[in-house]
Amino acid sequence: MNEFLTLMKSELVLTGIIFLLLFIKIGKGMKNESLLSLIQLLLLLNFIFSFFFNKEGNLFGDMFYTTPLIAFQKSILNLGVYLISLLCSDWLKKTQHLPEFFLLMLSALLGMFLMISSGNLLIFYLSLELATIPVAAMANFDLERKRSSEGAMKMILSSAFSSGILLFGISLIYGSTGSISLPAISQLLNGSPLQILAFVFVFTAFAFKLSIVPFHLWTADVYEGSPIAVTSFLSVISKGAVAFIFITVLYKVFTPMLEIWYWMIVILAIATMVIGNLFALRQQNIKRFLAFSSIAQVGFILVGISNADYLGIASVVYFVLIYVFSNLAAFGVAAVIAEKTGKENIDDYKGLYKTNPFLTWIMALALFSLAGIPPTAGFFGKLFLLTAGGARAEYWFILVAALNMIISLYYYLRVVRAMFMDKNDNPVEPVKTAPVVKMALIICGGGIVLVGLLSWIFEYIKTLQY
């Protein structure tokens, strides 16, 4: 019992919070502001708590397992959710369904936790759905906006389709190996064509969730349609979680198919980077822009994943950590501006520096980090991904990735240019940022600068037991 409490503590705490919210909702007892503060506090405590009592072990047979690295991954996700709760507080305060929103978001987070910890295809599938269905509902949270519904519709239908394919793949794997337990499967795989086919089916489901080209098409539409809080959750938290489990599945389960998935990842990484970048070039809406940029970032993550070694894991986890800060900072600024002025286009950001220097600097830092420019952490993150990806001495692959960084720099600089250089007769008026939001932005900014320079963070990730 004690083991149950410690090993599943992240999930249990989350469930606790979810039920608390449910009771509050039923009791109708709190105003939005105070409820939000309470939630933020709870999430902070949850984040802090996630660093303690981390042990390694299995539960429910082999359905659930956890390791220090998994615990750390959960901490990253906790942090991300906490930051989102801070950054989007302007929007959250106004929303009619605050407890429901968090209930859904935390359910999804719970799903992700379980997914990362899953040792079994069934639990994996269920938690994947748990991490998806509530988010689709969340995507529709701007109830009055048609685009919000449209995005949600696209998300739920596409993900249902992709989970259909995933399930078919799982069924074939089950058929050919006779097991749905991940450790067992890795023993039983023999690389027969049917298994390859099944693997492709399973792989595409991951690809869909991670928005790998050509399974990415839903991403931009959903991101643009959803409220920014949901977009940032989708692009940061759910991407991160899927990346973590993706690595685990590839490295631990499909080890016999290493050659196949290596090349698959190489091909898809290139396609993802190129397509993501090319689409991002033209975007006007900041959310859509960040959507394509995050697709391109996933391409880089794939470069790291291709490593199939511990370095790959460490670099991906590290990158996701940095990505949490960078992307959330960008979304945070976008959220503040969108909430106060309703402006979401890059052209609206022209001359932003004149009126909102703080927001501009944070945005610029975030974009530089996404572009991988030192001294921001993104530089280190990207470099380690490429380092990991280069281990097989396929230099052309690294070269393609590195060249893609140029394109990405171009469009990130487009925003920077709009903010700093372009003249605008009608710039965004000075926005008063709430202290909480400011704090969150500063945390993000600090993270962007420090995570790279404080090398022990990476070293710590590398020491964590996998």
């Binding site: 269905i133 048609k146 519904s149 519709m153 239908l157 389709f161 069924s171 539409d221 959903v222």
Partner: protein, 105 residues
């Protein structure tokens, strides 16, 4: 292939059903019918699991449980999807998927 129905027959049915569903998903312009296609897809998977459970790994019951849970998930998914579709219908006055394309490029 024997005339006696066996695993391969079931797999044929399930795969066919799967791709019938996929075809429906691709071609039906009504969101609700697309959802129906999804149901076909999920059912075909269920059939797969049961078939494998029956013919290959009868003692384990993994496939059986998988099926049970998929049915539950299908219900939940359908519920949320229908809620979203209805919401979309309210603002769109249409559930033709071709009309829901404000978000693009």
């Amino acid at each position: 292939m024997t005339i006696e129905p066996g695993l391969y027959h079931l797999l044929f049915i399930s795969t066919a059903l799967f791709f019938i569903g996929v075809y429906g998903f691709f071609t039906r312009r009504n969101l609700i019918t697309m959802l129906m296609s999804i149901e076909l897809i999920l059912n075909s998977v269920n059939l797969n699991f049961i078939a494998f459970d029956k013919y290959l790994w009868p003692g384990k019951m993994d496939g059986l449980f998988f099926t049970v849970f998929i049915i539950a998930i299908a219900a939940a998914e359908a519920a949320v999807a229908i809620a979203i579709i209805i919401n979309l219908y309210r603002s769109h006055q249409s559930i033709d998927v071709e009309n829901a394309e404000d978000l693009k490029y």
